[in-house]
Symmetry: C2
């Protein structure tokens, strides 16, 4: 099938609260230049997909409060390519809307759905993998997810157990498992049968619409009410009314874990969901003392295993700090042991209790 | 003697490097509003002395690079009351210049010499003590230092051993001891015979000039070359040439430890030299977890014994930090165990090696 039928949906509506205080409600992590390269994670996601899909076929789905940020960071994306959600409703409604929107424009469309806030390395392998994935879903009635070969017993990720091989590197999915404990994660990694679920999906608009009807009929029913308005000037008005009525569920839970035409493509590119400070640490180059420094200048004495993030040109001088997150975000300074990063959500709640939205 | 012959010399030329990164070469600690009261340490020193000495008799001796800061912070002090040192030369040359300057204006002058970067509490007791000190030195050929009753075995201070009592609370000094180790400091405290040397001195201009001639004749000789120019428009020109030739020594070493007419007045006011972050911690009110918070908002989990200092309105969120200094000074963040604070000087050197004067 020609590339002109290929679409990309960049999901860009998250608030990334686990990356507070860098990720803020008015500028979540996907809009941040995390690596000091001059491009935000969203921009990197866009750059990555541009060689694979016609520019005018790239859609960005975001919350309406972030539309201005998207337009600022991606001025080459036209207003019609931005789908503004009036409410936060997890990935299934987001993907459903995009699928209905795309299907209305092009009934033969195939699409890749990708988060905007992950890190992908070894990009040539990503391109290869995505092109092959498009070909597979365009010639099979398949819901395809990309699986990453695990390099450590990560407990923060979802795992995919592989089943029968269809062709080399393309297999049926046997099971999905969310966030296993350390012991089970180790068994998964050792078995060679489990891959990380990268949350990157490929399918045709027709296949995902069918699956939505079959497995989340209330959600599909909500969007069916809009048949005829997608792709027209009435679409946004329709969404304003009907989107908030959608159930808030993930596409994994709504469809992937239930459907029987789910496949995984084993991907060789490097991937990190940048879900937490710890994953940013794990994925960043370290100096001799195993410290990670983002952007700022650091002089560290008797300190190791830390991740430092501070405004450009700030100097951080530390002594006697082991395995900490030090995140200085202009108006907020967070100092927290790396192994307590799951408490950051609670801290954010405590901050809200005391200061309302001032520091969020 | 009438108060019109009483003078005050506020020494204000230090750079306070142990309080880096708050104390900076372009704005040392005496110019900082450390306690968030709206007045800097220098301003607090001025306020404290104002009821005791005629305003026009208060001199501020500082480095020429800080003259603008002094004028900004003390607009009520006229330019003629500011003595601008062209070089850093410790306390003896500073005090010698002030003594020659005052003696030229008023041969009958008595004077109090005080640092500008210490904290004094229970100020009514300070006033009482200073007034009594003036009376003593005006009627005795005495070099008087104020001694503070020690409340802990502080190893960072100088100690004064008391000798024969002249009148209640006014005694001959037996010995001076600089910075004893912990064990000896404890013996000092337990003995009841030792007082902290607050570095606040009272004497007449005549008595200190005599002592300078007797114990540091090279220094006195340098200033004797200027007899006739002090208090005239040529004074600053003379100082520009001759001040840099002065030996860099402290008044304690140059005079106090050698002279035999040295007395101590036992003072009941609260005093802290704010020499280090630890002394600021010791001297500040603590919350239930024994954390000290200067100005900023702090939410602390599982953290105790820390001192936090950050820009106004910054939020600091910490977990798992015990007995640390966390000093966020806009362009520099220092995180350092309290018991390593003596390493801050070395850190400052390291910063200079890498960044020249950028962060100093």
């Amino acid at each position: 099938m020609s590339a002109s039928h290929r679409y990309c949906v960049i999901m860009c509506g998250g608030i990334g609260s686990r990356f507070w205080p860098y990720s803020r409600t008015d500028k979540p992590k996907q809009f941040i230049d995390f690596f000091g390269t001059g491009r935000s994670l969203l921009q990197m996601s866009y750059d990555r997909i541009l060689p694979l899909v016609p520019a005018e076929n790239i859609l960005v789905v975001t919350n309406e409060r972030y539309v201005d940020l998207v337009r600022e960071q991606l001025p080459e994306v036209s207003p019609e390519q931005i789908l503004a959600e009036p409410d936060r409703r997890n990935t299934a409604p987001c993907i459903a809307w995009a699928a209905y929107h795309i299907a209305a424009k092009d009934p033969e469309a195939s699409m890749i759905v990708t988060p905007s806030d992950h890190l992908i390395t070894r990009e040539p392998l990503f391109e290869e993998c995505v092109l092959r994935g498009f070909e597979f879903v365009e010639s099979n009635d398949a819901l395809l997810t990309l699986g990453i070969e695990p390099t450590r017993p990560e407990t923060g990720y979802g795992y995919i157990q592989i089943g029968r091989e269809i062709e080399p590197g393309l297999l049926k999915v046997k099971t999905f498992t969310e966030k296993p404990d350390r012991e089970i994660a180790q068994v998964f990694v050792d078995s060679g049968e489990f891959f990380w679920n990268a949350g990157i999906f490929l399918w045709t608009a027709k296949t995902i619409k069918n699956a939505l009807h079959k497995y989340v009929s209330d959600l599909a029913g909500e969007f069916d009410k809009g048949i005829g308005v997608f792709g027209t000037p009435m679409e946004q008005e329709f969404i304003k009314t009907h989107f908030p009525a959608c159930p808030s569920i993930s596409i994994d839970f709504a469809v992937m874990e239930k459907a029987d035409n789910v496949y995984v493509e084993c991907a060789g590119f490097g991937w990190n969901d940048l879900g937490t400070w710890g994953s940013l640490y794990d994925n960043s180059p370290k100096n001799l003392a195993a410290n990670v420094t983002q952007k700022c200048n650091v002089i560290a004495y008797n300190s190791s295993g830390n991740i430092f993030m501070a405004p450009d040109n700030k100097l951080v001088v530390v002594s006697g700090l082991k395995d900490f997150i030090v995140a200085d975000a202009a108006d907020v300074l967070l100092i927290c042991p790396k192994d307590e990063e799951q408490k950051i959500r609670q801290m954010v709640n405590d901050v809200q209790q005391r200061f309302d939205d001032k520091f969020l």
